[in-house]
Symmetry: C2
Subunit: 317 residues, 2 copies
């Protein structure tokens, strides 16, 4: 194990001090109705209420605040059409530096508008991995901007871990914490922080069965890339990175997968019972509890509601 | 003015002490994004997070807790297919007494299930005013249950006024408070409480143009019943009662109306920006600010989000 590859708890604590004044301290909500349904005591950390509507703002802010003044001058860049793009754009604007976002031409209009509204410059590319990487390289060459990877980045992971710090600050008695896993930034930070705070806390990843590369990678012990994943949880399509894979192997107890219909059921349950909006990816941890009732029975379970960005014209119900 | 017809502020304060341990103290939320859009500082009192998902639980609880033991024994009854029915059912169950709900046969399945889930007994009737009143009378004769009117009831109004007490406790500096108006229970309680706490606070009612009987009644000085109202704000279809009409005439500064499309726009804005679910009726106060930007500019405005019960299969977007 190379301890320097991924952050230690000290890095996460430092990140928390660094970003505290820029982020929302989101609430930890409970629902007696949902507790009763599954005989589980849930503590929901509501990152759907975070700035830009997702936990991604934590990691992006931490990474941007750690740039030297010389680096910051040239701005930041990334490839993403999702929450990381919006998070990086707003965090850059808050520091007063440019953000350059590489996005496939066919990205949803609503995501393009979100990123533009934060003042970022978008460079469109063909919707292929090759085109995306080549375009990013060109943008970097032209601008000198620092590339901030959506998850396989030490400082981004440190920032994402701060959500678990706040969750366990309010609910230190948890038996388990569950976070969704796509590229693994949130799950890595959550696991490192939770285990350092209390080594008895179990940490689980939650993944759609239709994009189960992290689960298979975890069980096999090598990174198995995601191939043509097809899930409503559009924030969880990416594969693990080298850094997040190592952090997850070292700190996560298990990764569970769940069916699409359970994700939709969990999402709808939260909307109807808690009256709050979470995106499909954020519903995946609750879905795994629903599919594994016996396993989580009578446990105190912390769940990170990772985001709340939903296209209301494209609802699954 | 007959001061005994509607509650005084003392009645509302007493109600608050009486129901405090049975209700949720709902949060007052802010949104810098929505503030910026309309140059207004909003304070949203989130009764969508109240038990049964609506402020109605306050009034129902107050009315039920004020029954004598002898009265309570025979239970309570009402005619409603909406939030009042659910609220009365749960409040009755909490006191351990029966609730008898009269509901038109054609009420949405989702509402029937909600009321049943709280253990109330439903008696179905034809969907006419006559059938409803006759059925209610039969239920009363048979059971001896006390009729708790959805809004034209002294104790119900006292209970509804407690939301404004909590709002002004957290935001005593407000320039104005806006509540939606259907039968007028919430608006009456809100106005009595707000004016008593600070007579400089303006209190406005918010009503759909397509169900503008309260506005016309207010301007004319006589109750003009609602005739075939057709609005997405399904909690605001009813006409004012004798008690609420008097309270509103005496304490409310004005009633504004708003178009259907602005209600939908306001509702969508709250869902997308605040990530919380409000029902169409709850969006009407924000809609009147949107249609009267100049009037509310640079003001500190409290808005009561009256409820969050929405059929996700019937969304307007």
């Amino acid at each position: 194990m190379n301890a320097k590859l991924y952050p230690l708890f000290d890095n996460i604590k430092d990140a928390h001090k660094r970003i505290e004044s820029f982020i929302h301290r989101t609430p930890v909500l409970k629902s007696s109705l949902i507790n009763e349904l599954y005989n589980t005591e849930f503590y929901f950390k509501c990152e759907n209420f975070q700035k830009v509507g997702a936990f991604k703002f934590r990691g992006a802010t931490n990474a941007i605040r750690l740039l030297t003044d010389a680096e910051a001058l040239n701005g930041v860049t990334t490839h993403s059409s999702g929450n990381h793009a919006a998070a990086l754009s707003l965090a850059a604007r808050q520091r007063g530096i440019p953000a350059y976002i590489v996005m496939p031409e066919n990205a949803p209009q609503i995501k393009k508008i979100a990123v533009q509204s934060y003042g970022a410059k978008i460079t469109y590319c063909e919707p292929t991995l090759e085109a995306r990487e080549k375009t990013l390289e060109l943008v970097q060459q032209k601008t000198g901007a620092t590339f901030i990877h959506p998850y396989n980045n030490f400082n981004v992971i440190s920032g994402q871990g701060t959500a678990a710090v706040e969750l366990l600050d309010e609910a230190p008695f948890l038996d388990a914490v569950i976070a969704p896993v796509g590229g693994g930034g949130l799950l890595s930070g959550t696991a490192i922080a939770s285990k350092a705070i209390n080594s008895n806390i179990k940490v689980y990843g939650a993944e759609p069965l239709n994009a189960d590369d992290a689960c298979r990678s975890f069980k096999k012990g090598i990174i198995i890339p995601s191939v043509k994943p097809n899930t409503i949880a559009d924030g969880l399509l990416t594969s693990l990175g080298t850094i997040t894979f190592q952090a997850i192997r070292d700190h996560v107890d298990d990764i569970f997968t769940t069916k699409e219909e359970t994700i939709i059921l969990a999402m709808r349950l939260v909307w109807e019972r808690m009256k709050i909006i979470i995106e499909p990816s954020a519903a995946v941890p609750l879905a795994i509890v629903i599919e594994n009732k016996g396993f989580f029975k009578n446990k105190k379970v912390g769940i990170i509601f990772s985001g709340g960005n939903v296209d209301l014209n494209q609802l699954p119900f």
